[in-house]
């Protein structure tokens, strides 16, 4: 079987740092963070969050009302940017609606709406959910792929990967396999996660939430800032590429498990290093050829140290790296997709973003964490995503 090259032919994202590619790129280049003090609902947790402005004002078209929840509204908002809908429609014309796969990641889907029902007076009195409660279309984790298929009228293979914070990185590997085996010709990949109380108070219970904007790799880092985002990428074979200027392709992927603990990473980063090594192996690149790593970099004391240890095992040389969580917060199940697009922007604009909010690099961190953005020619970028349950994924993107 010949090696298939998959181009990221069209992509869009909406994060706290902005709507669409241009706003996000400008934020990355100017160092403008999307984090602000928690103002989500009653905002009674003292932390900083990456909330996307204006989701509350959005409305889904009438025939999609059953899908209306914060997560799908954020997806809808992202779809309106960067002419992405046209790109999908054009791919549909070329391949047929049953030849486009939808493989998306999420960790909490539309559970916010269900949480709010529990908090309603009506539920407290009756113990029943309202009649317009749409479990399948809103709460269920498949909701996001279901919504995209219904909205874009697609009939190809589909699933949702929900492996916590590695979800929307792993879907690139999923799509690669489905396309290479001929089960579809193109795929929409990426992920969506939106703010909800479960993650805010859950991470807070684990004492992983910072009271300040997150400071990845900093010696004074004390936890993450939770964010929300939607990121979508149309993956297509290189030789069938239509009117796209993109020259970035998926060059390698690696997936592994820690087999260690449900919510703490392996102390030596054993699982994470396996994922990175496999990503290198599938790409055929050596560690020396990687120009830049977009870190998982959540800014919890343990995570950043362990990620550094894992990188040290694989990249004996020192690699330039940074976390972009300082712009978006940790967008959980959407982080892999967001950072795949940020990696793509790095490649297309020959630009390595700084580790925003990082002032003094932790002396225990050995990699070259960028305190200032650098403009230089780069060819190969790796992006790390690690999740609860010890689930790891590393992706490598390269310029043609």
């Amino acid at each position: 079987m010949t090696i298939t090259t998959l181009i990221l032919s069209h992509y869009t994202l909406t994060t706290a740092a902005g709507y669409g590619i241009n706003e996000n790129l400008t934020a990355l280049q100017t160092g403008h963070s999307g984090l602000k003090h928690n103002d989500f609902l009653d905002g009674d947790l003292d932390t900083f969050i990456g909330r996307v402005n204006g989701i509350e004002k959005e409305k889904l078209p009438g025939h999609l009302t059953a899908y209306e929840c914060r997560n799908n509204l954020l997806a809808y908002l992202a779809f309106q940017q960067d002419d992405f809908i046209n790109a999908i429609n054009s791919a549909k014309q070329q391949y047929g609606s049953n030849r486009i796969g939808v493989f998306l990641g999420t960790s909490t889907s539309g559970i916010l709406e269900s949480e709010l029902i529990y908090q309603s007076e009506n539920y407290k009195k009756s113990g029943f959910f309202p009649e317009n409660f749409h479990f399948k279309e809103r709460h269920n984790s498949f909701s996001i792929s279901d919504f995209v298929r219904t909205y874009m009228q697609l009939e190809g293979p589909a699933l949702v990967v929900s492996t916590a914070c590695s979800s929307s990185a792993k879907v690139f590997a999923t799509a690669y396999r489905y396309i290479q085996l001929g089960l579809c010709d193109a795929a929409i990949v990426g992920g969506v996660d939106s703010l909800c109380h479960t993650t805010l108070y859950g991470f807070n219970a684990l004492e992983l939430v910072s009271g300040k904007p997150c400071k990845p790799a900093d010696k004074d880092r004390d936890g993450l800032s939770i964010g929300e985002a939607a990121a979508f990428i149309l993956l297509e074979k290189k030789n069938t590429m239509r009117n796209s200027d993109s020259t970035v392709f998926l060059h390698g992927y690696g997936e592994s498990s820690d087999a260690y603990h449900m919510s703490s990473p392996h102390p030596e980063g054993k699982g994470a290093s396996l994922a990175m090594q496999q990503a290198l192996n599938t790409s055929g690149l050596t560690a020396h050829e990687i120009d830049y790593i977009n870190l998982h970099g959540t800014a919890t004391p343990v995570n950043d140290r362990v990620e550094d240890a894992a990188i040290n095992q694989v990249f004996k040389n020192k690699v330039k790296c940074s976390s972009t969580k300082g712009w978006t917060g940790h967008t959980l199940g959407a982080a892999g997709g967001v950072e795949a697009i940020y990696s793509t922007l790095s490649l297309e604009h020959n630009f390595m973003p700084q580790s925003l909010n990082t002032e003094n690099i932790d002396p225990e961190i050995h990699q070259k964490v960028l305190l200032h953005s650098e403009h230089t020619k780069i060819k190969h970028v790796a992006s790390n995503s690690f999740g609860f349950g010890g689930n790891n994924c590393c992706l490598i993107f390269s310029k043609c």
Partner: protein, 278 residues
């Protein structure tokens, strides 16, 4: 067409304690007597994790271990299988408990509940129990979850042989597919998701050695009727849980009979031609 091989099955359902039980019922040796799945399910988890594992994890791990124990092939290692966990609804019971905590003053969510709430909690527990550092995915496709899980297993196994993944250090020939949904709590009952607990697990392979069955899998554009079990005793069970769509496959294996099974997969059908190998 994707060709893979089946090496073993694990199952738990009301009235079905395990694979041997299921075979006896399928063959008419014993009747299916309805009895809810036992409250206490033994799993292979270390003590620390066992205390924390929720119902859906217990069901998933019980069948996963059963499937691994039932493999006859020499040199088989559960820890070296690719891991695919599939749940239509995830852990709605844990969501319910967290939501109840979120209405209390100070919103006291327990850290254990929170890490149990992720869709990949059963997969995480299993990787610890089996010491499996291989790739692990946790998926859902709502009512099409079983078909999506089986297709995902076939796709991953066959991809192990292509040029791209050959370089993979952890290149594997076996895959553990675990499909599980537990019963949601009461407020969700009106959503008609799951009326009975059901879990099944399969050790699948791209290697024919010591396999029980050959599975030829393909998507068909024609809309087919859902295949139903031959034994009418299984039909209620088949409709009680999205993962129980697996039953016609499991029944064919129990009877050692070849069969063409069709399972709905979105607008298409997943066609599975089952051929016994002995």
């Amino acid at each position: 067409m994707l060709r893979i091989y089946l090496k073993s099955i694990g199952i738990i359902a009301p009235g079905v304690a395990g694979w041997n039980d299921f075979c006896n019922i399928a063959k008419g040796v014993q009747p299916l007597v309805y009895e809810p799945v036992a409250k206490k399910i033994e799993t292979v988890l270390p003590a620390n994790e066992r205390r924390r594992a929720t119902r859906v994890t217990q069901l998933a791990l019980y069948t996963a271990q059963q499937a691994c124990d039932n493999v006859v092939a020499e040199g088989f290692s559960a820890g070296e299988c690719l891991q695919i966990f599939n749940s239509s609804n995830g852990d709605v019971n844990t969501f319910h408990k967290i939501s109840m905590a979120l209405v209390m003053p100070g919103r006291p969510v327990s850290p254990t509940l929170f890490h149990n709430s992720v869709h990949n909690a059963p997969a995480g527990y299993w990787s610890i129990a089996a010491k499996a550092q291989t790739a692990s995915t946790s998926i859902t496709a709502h009512e099409y979850s079983f078909a999506a899980g089986l297709l995902e297993a076939a796709v991953q196994l066959i991809s192990q042989e292509n040029n791209y993944e050959q370089s993979n250090e952890l290149n594997k020939r076996d895959c553990l597919l675990v499909c599980c949904d537990d019963k949601p709590p009461e407020p969700f009952h009106a959503q008609g998701l799951v009326s009975e607990e059901f879990a099944c697990a399969f050790v699948l392979s791209n290697n024919i050695e010591q396999a029980l069955f050959q599975l030829d899998i393909q998507l068909s554009e024609q809309i087919h009727e859902d295949s139903i079990c031959k034994n009418p005793e299984f039909i209620n069970l088949q409709n009680s849980n999205p993962q129980a769509k697996a039953l016609p496959i499991i029944e064919s294996v129990a009877l050692n009979e070849s069969r063409q099974v069709v399972i709905p997969y979105f607008e298409q059908g997943l066609n599975i031609l089952l051929t016994p190998l002995n």
